[in-house]
């Protein structure tokens, strides 16, 4: 495979089919990483696995902004998953704004980890349905 100089040094930002397929496949790692993250929150840090998986979860969510490598099909799936994650966020917000429910609001770390897990779980389900 010939070397294809890309990126900031060359000013070439266009994604090709390989980039898009890689981006599609890479997102599959999000769900197992989220499960490890939740396990870490519950049982405690798990050696190297916790920081690695935490980074993967964080990167998978922040990386969504880089939509140049995602085509319309992938964006449809991401939007579906994001809807579920935002629904969960809305429920948590309800717990925060209703005084009688304040005491039942979960910890922020758990909230965000669960939200990320819901996103990746919904994404995995949508991909399985669209296979």
């Amino acid at each position: 495979m010939p070397y294809r100089p890309r990126g900031f040094s060359t000013g070439i930002f266009t994604a090709d089919e390989q980039d898009r397929s890689f981006a599609y496949v890479a997102l599959w790692a999000g769900l197992p990483a989220c499960i490890v993250l939740l396990a870490s929150l519950h049982f405690g840090k798990i050696a190297v696995l916790t920081p690695v998986c935490s980074g993967m979860v964080v990167g998978s969510l922040i990386g969504l902004v880089l939509s140049w490598s995602n085509d319309e099909f992938v964006r449809t799936q991401i939007a579906f998953a994001a809807n579920w994650a935002l629904t969960f966020a809305g429920i948590i917000l309800l717990f925060e704004v209703v005084p009688s429910l304040n005491d039942r609001a979960p910890d922020q770390r758990w909230t965000l980890a669960i939200m990320a897990t819901i996103f990746h779980a919904a994404l995995a389900w949508r991909r399985w349905r669209d296979r």
Binding site: E17, R20, S21, Y24, F73, V74
Partner: protein
């Protein structure tokens, strides 16, 4: 939505990856369109039609009689 994308691709002996590269989408998107799991947007439908030098209606069929 039914379509002839797989047939048209096979006639030109293109792989899904090759067709995806020509359409600026992922291979997974091509597979989803061929299997009817995803309907392309209008810009993508036009790109597909131009690539095969056909009308959109000759490639895609929404099942509704004219």
């Amino acid at each position: 939505m039914k379509n002839r994308l797989k047939v048209l691709r096979a006639e030109r002996d293109w792989s899904q990856a090759e067709l995806a590269g020509r359409l600026d989408v992922s291979r997974q998107a091509v597979n989803a369109i061929e299997t009817g799991k995803h309907d392309p947007s209008l810009p993508l439908a036009f790109r597909i039609a131009r690539l095969f030098d056909m009308k959109i209606e000759e490639i895609f069929d929404d099942g509704e009689a004219a």
